[in-house]
């Protein structure tokens, strides 16, 4: 039983570490900001999630004391990471003129929120 627990926790830690490395590597290696954004937001979040899971299991099964800090951390992390990525992407769109020209058209001509102010006569749906 103890071995199985340790195996599980170790596996989770390794998975977490792997995704952290992947995320960091992506941040360093990918060619432009939009693609680089994937690294620290997606892969790293997944990695940290695995680490938090490992920590929870460790405290619950090995120490015998349930720890809830990790849940709080996950909530904060899963809430902030995508929002941060979203904001960085918006700032990037705003600053990069060449990128703006390659953006696809938004449906029914609403435009990109970052670039075009909301229309006054938005259709009531």
């Amino acid at each position: 039983m103890a071995f199985a627990t340790e195996l599980l926790v170790s596996a989770l830690i390794l998975i977490g570490a792997f995704f952290l490395v992947v995320g960091s590597f992506g941040l360093a290696k990918l060619p432009d900001l939009m693609r680089r954004l994937h690294g620290p937001t997606k892969a790293t979040t997944l990695g940290i999630g695995a680490l938090l899971l490992a920590s929870m299991l460790y405290f619950l099964l090995v120490r015998g004391a349930p720890s809830l800090h990790e849940i709080l951390i996950s909530v904060f992390l899963f809430l902030t990471a995508p929002v941060t990525a979203h904001m960085i992407a918006k700032a990037h769109i705003l600053r990069d003129g060449a990128l703006q020209n390659t953006l696809p058209e938004a449906p029914d001509g609403a435009g990109w929120a970052t670039l075009k102010p909301a229309r006054e006569d938005a259709p009531a749906a």
């Binding site: 809430l79 979203h86 904001m87 102010p117 909301a118 938005a122």
Partner: protein, 956 residues
């Protein structure tokens, strides 16, 4: 009890501005009542003073400095206090009628009472340092009074001149009194007065004498400091009448009389004091003779009479001192009456120019009679009180060499200008070209004059009956241990030298007046130094010299200041290091860990990058936040979770606030071109860094006992908490923290004040110019808005948790405050400041105040329980459901810290937002979201809920 004599007017000064709302008469009455209460306290002491009992009261103030709150009353103090209060009452009545309808009478009476209290403090204080305090108070309050008509340049300049001269004298007095206290071995006057021999024998005697005389001469307008007094005539007449008859200028005479037993009796004293007094008396009387402005004549006459009193004190004989004391009374009565009469003339005839006046005897018979009585006294005509003291003066002068003839000359000039005053204004033919048709003023204005004129006559006729007792008492009090001769004031002493001199002065004065015309023409042609021009030149010179001396050091260049401060530290530190012996520390070094190396490399790289990239402001900020992060990791590594938490939260808050502030500034700093300067700055920085590193190394490699052992062992039993850091903050060093949160609040107010200049004027225009136009179309993106709103309760819960556990585990009010502040900043950034502010309805200023108040009240709670300020209290409670709870009063204190921190951050945020909004040129959205939903929501009235407000804002 006698402390009340001075304290009642000082505290009562608060009443008139309040009472003025219920009318001018009631305000005057309240002012008079305040003086009357003080007078009643004074009079209650009269029997004790006359029976020779010591009347003292004393409370320790700053015993370490020899400063105590001690008062005493003897004959001299009684006489002066009586004059100050008596004439003060008359002035109050007079001012009620003198001041115009639109004058702020409440404020005037407040200043008057303040001044009265300060004067009473001078004449009743026993401690010489306390006397200095009151002395300075008279300078300040007289500044307010002299500059009452601050809309006139004469008023402002006169007040400033008076303040500079008398305030400068006050500085001399501080020095003199400190030395005197040293020489005498005590700061209590009663003790010092008994140690005259010791002081005169001390090597400090000469400096003491010169400093004290400097103070007395500036205050009493003695040559060559006499020039401020005539310029102080720009004040309203009640002020002149009060300051220059009975009070302000008499303070110098009082000081000399008070310290007479200690300082007088030496050659220097006689030469300096008599000489100065004599010169002042003659010069001022000579100038007075030629002045045409009534108040100027009276001003120079005052200076002359002050010279007379100073001269009498200089003689060093007990008889002369008695004469001086008597003349103080007489001069106060007739000069106050004359000033008030001049004010009446000014008020009724519309001019104070003696050339435009004359014949007022027929037009305003009552006030003319009173003024003539007073001027007869000033001239020294028999049956008026001025005659008596002048006789005593001449009698005293007759016993010295050379002085008699000069004293007679002074008396002669005094006769001449008095007669000219009387002739020019009241006698002579009635004219028809007065600016106003003169008539007697309301009784309220001439009644005070009548009281004084009655005294002038009464003392003149029956001197021994009315003034003998107090003069003998005050003279003896002033003369100290030396017994004064039997004083018998009477009009007729037989044909004495004094009578002959007096008669000569009378005749000579009239003769002089007969040749006044030719004399004036001669005087017009001779050179006369202009005191005001000289004074202005000296002041301008001093200002220019200061500018030249200080200007280069105080250039508005932050780097230069930093360089100077840092270089000084380097030089001092290096000198200490290289001139002393140094031994390396004895502690073993810890092994280097891999993580430590990584953090160190990161730290060093970030620092190096800042040096290279410091031109990019935002990058620099991010790099410095790396430093903060590494430091907080180091704290964690060395088991200081509190510090780490604090460091991280501070780091976050400052980074956000600075980012917001940087948004207003250009993105790049201008590059420095001068390579020499860069080299210099780099050198200094490197030296400072090496020094700090060396210092840290030296400290960390040594074993020594610190106070932290005590803190660690006492945290639980003494402070009731297991979190040592928090217990130190809120308990062991609570006073420190209390001071720090006050500093924090002041810093917040400074942020407001400094950024306020960015809202308007040149700074605002510059801001607009550097503003970059790149702005997102959706200022408040939906995702961010929703996320921060979800996070808000979570963040607040974390803040509350950290606060509550703070006393026992890492946390506390400071960190909790920062966390809550971050939560609120987050809302402001996501949803817009206006949105956040409209929902956070507590004023940040109020938070600041509440924080300091909560901390202070907690501290005072301990005082109420008889413990020292900020002693904490703690105990265990058993609550149902929750269980055993430990509560400490320190928690309330911590709440104060919490509020102060939140208030500081929010106030800074609010001010930055105000500036941002100004720079944005864009209305701040007021709705809950500025994003359009597909479906348009409507209010019950049918108006669109969200967009309408934005539209309205855009249109406006």
């Amino acid at each position: 009890m006698i402390a009340l004599i001075a304290l009642v007017p000082l505290l009562g000064a608060m009443l008139p501005p309040i009472v003025i709302r219920s009318g001018r008469d009631r305000c005057t009455a309240v002012t008079a009542v305040v003086s009357l209460v003080s007078l009643a306290v004074l009079l209650a002491q009269v029997p004790a003073v006359f029976s020779g009992e010591p009347v003292r009261t004393s409370v320790e103030w700053v015993p370490a400095l020899g400063l105590s709150f001690s008062f005493f009353l003897d004959g001299l103090g009684l006489l002066f206090a009586g004059l100050i209060l008596g004439i003060g009452l008359l002035i109050t009545l007079y001012a009620r009628f003198y001041l115009g309808r639109d004058e702020k009478v409440g404020r005037f009476f407040a200043y008057l009472l303040l001044f009265q209290g300060a004067m009473l403090g001078i004449v009743t204080s026993d401690n010489i340092l306390l006397l200095v305090v009151f002395w300075e108070l008279t300078s300040l309050s007289s500044f307010l009074l002299i500059g009452w008509w601050s809309h006139t340049p004469e008023g402002r300049q006169g007040a400033r001149m008076a303040l500079v001269v008398t305030g400068g004298g006050g500085l001399l007095l501080i020095g003199g009194m400190l030395l005197l206290g040293q020489a005498a071995g005590s700061y209590e006057l009663t003790t010092i007065l008994a140690r005259g021999e010791v002081v005169r024998g001390s090597p400090l005697y000469l400096p003491i004498l010169l400093l004290v005389l400097g103070a007395a001469f500036t205050k009493s307008a003695q040559f060559p400091f006499h020039f401020w007094l005539p310029h102080a005539m720009a004040a309203p007449t009640p002020v002149s009448a009060y300051l220059h008859s009975a009070t302000m200028v008499k303070a110098g005479v009082f000081l000399l009389a008070r310290l007479w037993p200690v300082l007088s009796g030496t050659e220097t004293w006689f030469l300096v004091v008599t000489g100065t007094g004599l010169i002042t008396m003659l010069i001022a009387a000579w100038i007075a003779l030629f002045k045409t402005d009534l108040k100027a004549i009276l001003a120079y006459s005052t200076v002359s009479h002050l010279g007379l009193m100073t001269m009498l004190l200089g003689f060093g004989t007990p008889y002369a001192v008695t004469a001086c004391v008597f003349h103080v009374i007489n001069h106060a009565t007739f000069k106050a009456a004359l000033f008030m009469s001049a004010g009446i003339v000014d008020h009724e005839a519309g001019t104070r120019d003696i050339r435009k006046l004359g014949g007022l005897r027929r037009l305003m018979p009552v006030s003319a009679t009173l003024a003539l009585i007073a001027s007869a006294s000033m001239a020294g005509i028999p049956l008026f009180n001025g005659f008596l003291s002048k006789e005593m003066m001449l009698e005293a002068a007759a016993h010295t060499a050379l002085v008699p003839s000069l004293a007679t000359l002074g008396a002669l000039l005094s006769v001449a200008y008095s007669v000219r005053f009387a002739l020019g204004v009241y006698l002579g033919p009635v004219r028809d070209d007065y600016p106003h048709r003169p008539h007697d003023p309301p009784a309220g204005m001439w009644l005070p004059v009548a009281v004084l004129a009655f005294l002038v006559l009464a003392i003149g006729v029956a001197p021994q009956l009315l003034a003998g007792g107090i003069v003998a008492l005050a003279g003896q009090a002033s003369a100290g241990p030396v017994p004064i001769p039997e004083v018998h004031l009477s009009i007729w002493h037989g044909v004495t030298p004094a009578l002959v001199m007096s008669a000569a002065a009378l005749v000579g004065g009239l003769l002089l007046l007969a040749v006044f015309g030719p004399l004036e023409r001669v005087r017009e042609k001779t050179f006369r130094p202009e005191a005001k021009a000289m004074f202005d030149a000296v002041v301008a010179g001093a200002v220019a010299a200061c500018r030249r001396g200080i200007g280069p050091m105080h250039a508005d260049s932050l780097p230069r200041w930093l360089a100077a401060i840092s270089a000084t530290i380097v030089v001092v530190g290096a000198t200490a290091f290289f001139t002393a012996t140094y031994a390396p520390g004895t502690r073993d070094l810890l092994p280097v860990e891999f993580l430590g190396v990584v953090a160190w490399v990161l730290l060093a790289a970030a620092c190096g990058a800042v040096v290279v990239l410091h031109g990019h402001r935002v990058l620099t900020l991010i790099l410095t936040s790396v430093v903060g992060l590494v430091v907080s990791l180091a704290f964690l590594q060395f088991s200081a979770p509190d510090l780490a938490l604090t460091q991280i939260s501070v780091e976050v808050v400052t980074t956000i606030l600075m980012l917001l502030a940087l948004n207003l500034l250009p993105k790049l700093t201008p590059p420095e071109h001068a390579p020499l300067r860069r080299l210099r700055d780099g050198g200094i920085a490197a030296a400072i860094g090496l020094g700090a590193a060396g210092l840290a190394y030296a400290v960390m490699t040594r074993d020594f006992t610190t106070i932290s052992d005590y803190h660690v062992t006492q945290a639980k039993p003494g402070g009731g908490g297991t979190n040592v850091v928090n217990v130190i903050l809120v308990d062991f060093r609570g006073f420190d923290t209390f001071g720090e949160i006050i500093v924090l609040c002041i810093a917040a107010l400074a942020v407001v004040a400094l950024l306020d200049s960015a809202l308007r004027g040149a700074a605002a225009r510059r801001l607009d110019a550097v503003r970059q136009g790149l702005e997102s179309a959706d200022a408040h993106p939906l995702v961010l808005v929703i996320a921060t709103r979800v996070l808000l309760p979570l963040a607040l819960a974390v803040g509350a948790y950290i606060f509550l556990r703070g006393h026992n585990e890492p946390g506390g009010g400071f960190i909790a405050g920062l966390v809550v502040a971050i939560a609120i900043i987050m809302q402001a950034m996501a949803s817009g400041y206006a949105w956040a502010a409209s929902r956070f309805r507590v004023d940040a200023h109020a938070l600041l105040g509440a924080g300091v108040l909560a901390a202070g009240v907690t501290g005072l709670g301990a005082v109420l329980l008889g413990r020292p300020f900020l002693t904490s209290w703690h105990g265990h409670f058993h609550l149902p459901l929750i269980g055993d709870v430990e509560l400490a009063s320190a928690m309330a204190f911590d709440a104060g810290v919490f509020l102060a921190v939140v208030g500081t951050v929010l106030l800074s945020l609010a001010q930055i937002s105000r500036v941002e909004a100004r720079a944005e040129h864009r209305p701040v959205p007021e709705g809950p979201l500025d994003i359009k939903f597909g479906r348009r929501q409507t209010t019950p009235t049918g108006a669109p809920l969200t967009t309408a407000r934005v539209d309205a804002a855009k249109e406006s």
